[in-house]
Every structure is written in structure tokens, then in C-alpha cells.
Amino acid sequence: MSALTRTQRLSAQLGILIGPASLFLAVFFICPLAIMAIYSVLAPGTYGGVVWDFYPHNFGRILGFADPDFEIYDPVYFSIFLRSLKIALITVLLTLLVCYPAAFQVSRLPERWKAFGLFLITLPFFASLIVRLFIWVLILKKTGFINVALMDMGIIAAPLELIYTDGAIILGMVYIFIPFMFLPVYASVEKLDWSLVRASQDLGANGIQTFFRIILPLTLPGIVGGSIIVFIPALGNFIVPAVLGGAKVLMLGNLIEQQFLSARNWPFGSALAMLVMASVLLLLYLYIRFEARRGDEAPAIR
């Protein structure tokens, strides 16, 4: 037998199991993020690249303390940030409104149909994202399905401006994020104790009261979870605006892409990305607080 003790052998096993993945993530995940964080406070070089000086004005250009030597503060970047925030929030709200009632219906189906319904909702998640967006280009564009149909029927004379609008971006995002919202919401709805709903009705509460004081609080965890899962990819999204938003509608994601691939101001692009990351981390922190508080006070019915 080998001279290794049991502890030594176990720690060797542990090392072999988690070593490679840990090393991989340290080098290719944590390290890149750290470099990006450093880049965001370096000065941009004249011809792309960076100058190794501390330069807080990358954030200043967005938040209001631009480099006094070069430019006066222009709120355009901050307004793009607010716009992206607004579009992401509307997307979350609409996705929720679309999924919530359907989750109730699916949860009350007989077992086999329920499984089939869930299958139908999960399936698009596996289909190519770009293909699903492409479909909406075909439907919404000037010579697309809707415009051609309406014009052939003589309802409109000139094509409507459907694509390259905020509405198109939101529609595209709602379409691709439906599975993300539906599954967490469904998990909550499925667990809903209907005897509480009946009790509320027996005690004389009307439909609206029952909904707001029983159903909504009990399904809140799913709503919050789904909203976060949708909000994160929606905020910095650049594929949907690039495909359905055209050149006019700029979102944070496109702005970041521009800084890296055409404007070549990497520090500024990094600062914008840090802003996206900070928003997401803040949100996750609040979510963890929410979850912890919910754990403390037992049932959340008032």
C-alpha cells in the first residue's frame, strides 16, 4: 500500500477534481474581468490602445465629470444608459404580463398536457437566437409579412414603420425571453396553495382582493426571479437592437460594441461595461437580500 494517509489521498482527489476547472476560471474568467476593470480607469491612447495613467474620466463622461482638458460633459451617454434601463424594464414587465396568465392555465391542465405545454415553452429556448430574431425581421420590415398583407388587403397605402423602432426591440426581446420568465413564474404558480384562495373567497374577499393579498404575494418569488433572469440579458443586449433597432436606436450594448470595434476607445467601452456589470450586481445583491428576508418571516401573506 502507498504511504499516503487517507487525508492526503482525499485532498489529492479533490485537487484533481476541482483543480483544472478552478485554474481555467481563474485565468479565463476572473483575470479578464479584472483586466477590464483596470482598463476602465486608464486613459485612452490617441490611436486606440491605452495609456497607463489613472484616468477616472471614462466614468466621468457618463456620470458628469468629463475630462476638462478635452470635452465638456455631454449627457448623451447617460441618457443612453437611462434609455437602456427603460427598455429593459418595459421588456421585463411585458414578458411578465404575457407569461403570468398562461402559467396559471398550464398549471391547471391535466398531467400529460401540462408536460406537453412545458415542452412547447422550453423548445424555443433551444432554437437559435439569431434565427428567432430573423423571423421578426421578415415579419416587421417594410416589405415584410405584415406590411405586404395589409397593403394587399388595401388597408394601408404605404408601409408602416414597424421595424427599427423601440417597439420592435421590445417585441424581439419579449419573444426571446419568454422561456426565461415563464419557467420561474410557473414554478411559483404550480406550488400555489389553492385552499388559501378558496378560504379568502369564503371569507368574503372579492377577486381583486384575493389576487393582491393572496395570489400575488405567494407567487412573488417566481415573479422576482423571472424578472431578474430577463433583466440581466436585456440591459446590455446588443444583438436585438442591432437586428431590429437599426442605426437610429442606440442602446448600451451597441454603444459598448462601437467603442471596441469602431471607435477603438477601449477604456471608455470598459467603463460602460463596468456600469452594466455594476447594475447587475446591485440587482443581484438586492435579490439576495429579498430572499433572505423572505426566509426569516415565514409565510408572506398579510
Partner: protein, 276 residues
């Protein structure tokens, strides 16, 4: 009151049908119109044809100049080949590393285990664009030219987490008494692992690998930032075509991709339901 409730139930059912129609009608639409003969406006129906399919599959030479839309079939095939190469490599790496990590977290108690679990989740919570540009900066600053290798590395950063989660879920539902029984009956650690743990965890590993493969084939944002000349993947190819204007052939590619991913996903979900 009863009538009201019936109306409500009917309304909810009707709404749910609309909900599914919203998801699937657009997909049905693109499938139907991929057989549209009109070469100029793809969305104005002017007759049934399978010419676009023939062209993509190489059965029909492109004759008329106006029909020569797709830049190059070669480019498309190269993109498919790149995507498959990347997906094969990422799936292998992510499955091995993700499974190993899941096994470690399941079997061992070690310092910082909680933190480690959180670490495994962060790549999934990181917005794609942030990870994409961080990797771009990283590869450029250490002097690695973007290409297949960088795409594989970049995608693995989050695919490991997917495999980890799927395999962990499987491990959590496992019966530990079998392991104890096996040890009690005198099987060595390795035998127990090979004969008891591995067969039980295998469905999770396959599920994780399948998920990693599909997500790798579909990844656009991260790949977009770290792909180089000649390493264009299929989603990037389509993204590029969309930006330059849409041609009937894209329709066909889209339908073929939908069919492919639906087939794989159905297979995966079918296997999962059979196991229960």
C-alpha cells in the same frame, strides 16, 4: 357568478392559445415562406418551390444572375464546419471540467465550498457583452490572435457552469445509501465510483453535454467579440447576412437550423422523461 367564472376560465384558455400562437406562428410562417418562389420579396407569396433548398444543398447550379444572392456557399459550409468544430471541443472540455467540479462539490467538504458554488454560478449571471469584451481585452493584451482557440476558451468559461449545474442537480437526487452499501460489501473506492456513482450520474452528464453543445452552437455575443478572420461560426454568418440584407437562402438556412435544434432538444427532453 358561475357564468362569470366560466367566462373567466374560457378567457384564460383562449389567452393561453394566443400565447402559444405568439410563440409558434412566426416559426410556422418562416417554414412556409421558405418554399416561396418569389426571389425579390420573400414575404409575398408567388408559388411553391424547393429551389432554395436545392441550391443550399448544392443540387442546383445558380443560373440567373438575379438569383445569385448568397455570397458564397463555401462561406456557409465553412461557418457550419467552424461551429461544429467549436461545439465538439467546447462540449468535451466543459463536460469533463463541469462534471469533475460537480463531483468534487458533491463528495467533499472543503474550505470555501459555499464561495466555490457561487463562483460556478457567476459566469451565467454575467451579461454576455461584459464577458465578451473582457475576453477580447484579455486575448489582445496577452497577444493571442482571435480564432477557433479563443472561441473555444471563451465559450468554455460559461459552458462549464451549465454542465456543473445540470450534473449537480442529478447528484443531489442520488441515493447515497447505495454507495455506502457498496463500500460495506467490500468494493474499493474506484469500483464503487465506476459501478455505482457513474451509472447514476451519467444521464446528468449526457444532459449537460447536450445543453453545452446546443448553447455553443448558438452562442453569438461572446463569439462575436473573440472570433477572428476565417473563424466565423454559423450564428455569426447569419448575423452578418442580416446586417447586409436578407436573401431567400437565409430563410432556408434558418429553417434547417430550427429543425436541427428542435430535433436535438426533443431528443434530450424525451430521454429525460423516459428516465423518470
Amino acid at each position: 357568478m358561475r357564468l362569470l367564472r366560466n367566462i373567466g376560465a374560457f378567457g384564460l384558455a383562449a389567452y393561453t392559445l394566443l400565447f402559444f400562437a405568439f410563440i409558434y406562428l412566426p416559426i410556422a410562417l418562416i417554414v412556409v415562406y421558405s418554399f416561396n418562389a418569389d426571389p425579390v420579396n420573400m414575404m409575398r407569396w408567388s408559388g411553391f418551390t424547393i429551389d432554395w433548398y436545392k441550391k443550399i444543398l448544392g443540387f442546383k447550379a445558380v443560373v440567373s444572375e438575379t438569383a445569385l444572392y448568397i455570397e458564397s456557399i463555401d462561406q456557409l459550409f465553412r461557418a457550419v464546419k467552424n461551429s461544429l468544430t467549436v461545439a465538439a471541443m467546447t462540449t468535451t472540455i466543459a463536460t469533463i471540467l463541469g462534471t469533475a467540479t460537480a463531483l468534487a462539490v458533491y463528495r467533499f467538504n472543503f474550505l470555501g465550498k459555499k464561495f466555490y458554488r457561487v463562483l460556478m454560478f457567476t459566469p451565467l449571471l454575467m451579461p454576455d457583452i461584459v464577458l465578451g469584451i473582457a475576453l477580447l481585452i484579455f486575448f489582445v493584451s496577452i497577444g493571442i490572435t482571435p480564432g477557433i482557440t479563443t472561441i473555444v476558451i471563451g465559450q468554455c468559461t460559461f459552458l462549464i457552469s451549465y454542465v456543473f449545474i445540470v450534473v449537480s442537480a442529478r447528484l443531489a437526487g442520488m441515493d447515497r445509501t447505495l454507495e455506502n452499501a457498496s463500500a460495506y460489501l467490500g468494493a474499493g473506492e474506484w469500483t464503487t465510483f465506476r459501478r455505482i456513482v457513474l451509472p447514476q450520474v451519467m444521464p446528468g452528464v449526457i444532459g449537460g453535454a447536450l445543453l453545452a453543445f446546443i448553447i455553443s452552437m448558438d452562442d453569438l455575443v461572446i463569439t462575436y467579440f473573440i472570433s477572428g478572420v476565417g473563424s466565423q461560426t454559423l450564428p455569426l454568418f447569419i448575423f452578418g447576412m442580416l446586417r447586409r440584407g436578407i436573401k431567400p437562402e437565409v430563410n432556408v438556412i434558418a429553417v434547417m437550423m430550427l429543425t436541427f435544434s428542435f430535433a436535438i432538444a426533443s431528443l434530450g427532453l424525451y430521454l429525460r422523461t423516459r428516465q423518470r
